[in-house]
Symmetry: C3
Subunit: 115 residues, 3 copies
Amino acid sequence: MTIKHLDSGEILSQAVVHDNTIYVCGLTATNRELDVAGQTREVLAKIDDRLAKCGTGKTRLLNVTIYLTEITLKPAMNEVWKDWLGDLERPARACIGGVELEPGALVEIIVSAAR
Amino acid sequence: MTIKHLDSGEILSQAVVHDNTIYVCGLTATNRELDVAGQTREVLAKIDDRLAKCGTGKTRLLNVTIYLTEITLKPAMNEVWKDWLGDLERPARACIGGVELEPGALVEIIVSAAR
Amino acid sequence: MTIKHLDSGEILSQAVVHDNTIYVCGLTATNRELDVAGQTREVLAKIDDRLAKCGTGKTRLLNVTIYLTEITLKPAMNEVWKDWLGDLERPARACIGGVELEPGALVEIIVSAAR
C-alpha cells in the first residue's frame, strides 16, 4: 500500500498518508513572540493547512498530543482549542507539560486524522 | 469511513474509533491522594472501562505511552502494569519521565487498541 | 483481525503488527557511555532490526516521536537521523526535550511503520 508524503524535507515530512490515516508532524508557532494563546492559534492554523493539503480537515481528527513547556499554560491553550473545534465532536487527546521545545516555543501539537 | 466518538466532551472524547483502531485519551487517576501504584491501578481500570465501551479490551492493546512525573516511579508503576496484563501478550510501550501533569497526578497513560 | 507480537516480554513487546501498521516500542541505546550521536546510531540500528523482523524497513516509516533529555542535543541527533535516512522520503516526526529517561539514556525513539 502506497505511502504519500507531504513536503518531505531535510528532517521530516509535514504529513504522511497511509491507508486511511494521516499523520501530521509536530508543529510549533513561527512567531515565538506570541503568548501561548497566540502560538496555539498559529499552530492550529498550520494543522488546518496540512490536513487540507491531505484532503481532510479537523472534522476528521482522531488522536492529538499537546506538549506545553509549563502545565500552567493549559487553560489558555484550551480556550483556543475549544474555539477552534466549535461544535465538532472532539478527538482523543492528551496534554503533557514541563518539556523543552524549540527556543521560544510554548506549545507543540501532533495530530492524526482520518482521510 | 465513519469515526465514532465515546463521550465527546468540552475538550476531548474519551475514545475515538476509526477503521480497525481505537484511540483512548490520556487518562489520569481521579484520586490524587494515592501513590503511583494506586494511581496506576485507577488509570488501568479506566482504560478497561473505555476499551469495553468500544467493544474491545486489554487483550487487543497495540501501543501504549506512559508519562510519569519522575522516572523513579517506573518500577512501582511496572508492578501494577504486569499484574494487570497477567499472562497476556504485551503491547508496544514507551515510558517517559520528568513531565508535568495535572496537579497531584503522578502518571498518565495513553493507549491504542484494535477492535 | 490478528495482532502479532514481536518478542513479548515481561513489560512490553518489541513491536506489534496489526492491520497494515507496525508499532515499535520506545527504544534507547544499550551502551549508555556513548554521546547522543552514538546513542542515536545504536537506537536507529535497533529500529532497523525490529522493522526487519516485522517484514518492513525504514522506507516504510510513518510517524516518529523522539524524546531527548535536553533539547540542546537535537542538532547532534539530527545529523545521525539524516545520515540514516539518506535520500529516502521522511516520516512525520516530533522531537520533545527536557524529559527523564532511563539512567544514562539521552535519547528514546518511537516509530510506527507500514507493512
